[in-house]
């Protein structure tokens, strides 16, 4: 037993999520709509509608599955906004409404100078503005995004969504929020990614009757208790079917 404890307590290398700012910049709402700008995404090998669908897939496959976090990303629409002239992610974010994220494709060579930024697949962030927090990310339409496979593109968009939610890079090489896609297969979030999102958007409602990950439903506790009651009744019914029991001798 002592040997086991020693193994558990051995020091390891450090890996951890980070935040984009300190104190953290985060959304004040629990449902965040993501809209796509009307800029052409042809250089990135897709249409705006495809980008919007990929954003939804990235949200559903990654961030919307974190059960310990109280935030949900919702698919919006294509909005009549141009982001291609924006030279910073802050400028892009300023064009959207509070508690929303604007997404677009950019060929801006100030933001993505070629060829030095060709390996940069996108950039994302969040900012606090006078009317509230706003997020944005831009896909580098001049870079190597077009050469990525479908699952890699989804992971890249999920990574930039993470920045738009307030997360910085992680030093955990397996994490979605690691700075490089590299050769890894990113099918889901790591615990590090989940802890980061949980830190920014925790479920703070302590009452079992109303603690929801997405929406608050005051009947949940009652529902849970009702289910347990039903299970007890079912077991009682099973008991009648059995001739006898040995009793509670072991307890």
């Amino acid at each position: 037993m002592y040997k086991l404890l020693i193994i558990f307590l051995l020091p390891f290398n450090s890996f951890a999520f980070t935040l984009t700012t300190s104190p953290p910049t985060k959304f004040s709402a629990n449902e965040i709509t993501v809209n796509v700008s009307s800029d052409s995404c042809a250089s990135a090998g897709m249409t705006n509608s495809v980008l919007l669908d990929m954003v939804e897939e990235a949200a559903e496959e990654y961030w919307n599955r974190v059960t310990t976090a109280n935030i949900k990303i919702i698919k919006g629409s294509i909005v009549s906004t141009t982001l291609n002239s924006m030279t910073s992610i802050g400028q892009a974010a300023s064009t959207t409404s509070p508690n929303t994220i604007i997404v677009g494709c950019s060929t801006n060579t100030t933001l993505f100078p070629s060829p030095s930024s060709d390996s940069t697949l996108g950039v994302g962030g969040i900012g606090n503005y006078s009317d509230g927090p706003k997020g944005a990310f831009l896909v580098n339409a001049n870079g190597n995004f077009i050469n990525q496979g479908q699952s890699e593109k989804t992971a890249v968009i999920a990574h930039e969504l993470g920045h738009a939610l307030g997360l910085g890079h992680s030093s955990d090489e397996v994490a979605l929020m690691y700075y490089s896609v590299g050769a890894k297969t990113q099918e889901r979030l790591t615990m590090d990614d989940k802890d980061g999102l949980t830190y920014l958007y925790p479920n703070e409602d302590k009452l079992p009757a109303s603690c929801g990950a997405i929406t608050h439903n005051k009947d949940r506790g009652l529902f849970s208790l009702s289910l347990i009651g039903l299970m007890m009744m079912a077991l009682l019914y099973l008991k009648k079917k059995r001739p006898s029991f040995e009793g509670l001798n072991s307890y």
Binding site: S22, T67, S171, P202, E204, P208, N217, F245, L248
Partner: protein, 185 residues
């Protein structure tokens, strides 16, 4: 919260009851969490936990099993931030046999995350940027539905396998599970 737990445990232990302590491994969201860069999950990445359990007789061949546990998050990343998980389970046990119990019930999990707020320089695109660790503690709460099986080998030792369905009626529902050994006091 802590007061409620202490009061509940005090009340229960003041009644005629059995108590046990135990230790084991807990896997938070093992099937939905990536562990390696080949995409594999952390299915068997157990994190050590300890618990105390009080057992009361209940009608209809049932026992009432209140359990309080604490998870030690020991993975490598927790050198840079602290994470702790406590839980309170309100389980009922149906006596399948004299030594075999089907456990089911509800629970509440409390997870806290904190760090030192330090600035760290990490790779960003073709250069580096400054990012920040968490500077304060945040706590998240989740309710669970629990289902498990417990087998007592003799009058002192038992093993337990239990599954915890987090946020069961939410689209974010997820499963954690634990495997443990208990000692009857």
């Amino acid at each position: 919260m802590l007061k409620i737990i202490i009061l509940t445990l005090s009340l229960i232990t003041s009644i005629n009851s059995y108590s046990l302590v135990g230790a084991g491994g807990y896997v938070p969201f093992g099937l939905s969490t990536q562990k390696e860069d080949d995409g594999s999950r952390r299915t068997f990445s157990f994190e050590p936990y300890i618990f105390v359990n009080t057992i009361l007789r209940a009608p209809f061949n049932h026992i009432f099993m209140t359990e309080f546990g604490y998870v030690f998050h020991t993975s490598k990343k927790y050198d840079e931030y602290k994470k702790s998980t406590m839980f309170l389970l309100l389980d009922l046990g149906y006596m399948l046999r004299s030594n075999l119990v089907l456990r089911y019930g509800i629970g509440i999990f409390k997870t806290s995350i904190s760090s030192d707020g330090a600035a760290v320089t990490l790779a960003n695109g073709t250069g580096t940027s400054t990012f920040y660790r968490p500077s304060e503690s945040k706590t998240t709460y989740n309710t669970t539905w629990n289902l498990g099986i417990e087998n007592s080998w003799n009058k002192h030792y038992a093993t337990k396998l239990e599954f915890y369905l987090f946020e069961p009626i939410s689209s974010k529902r997820d499963i954690s599970y634990s495997l443990s050994i208990a000692y009857y006091l």
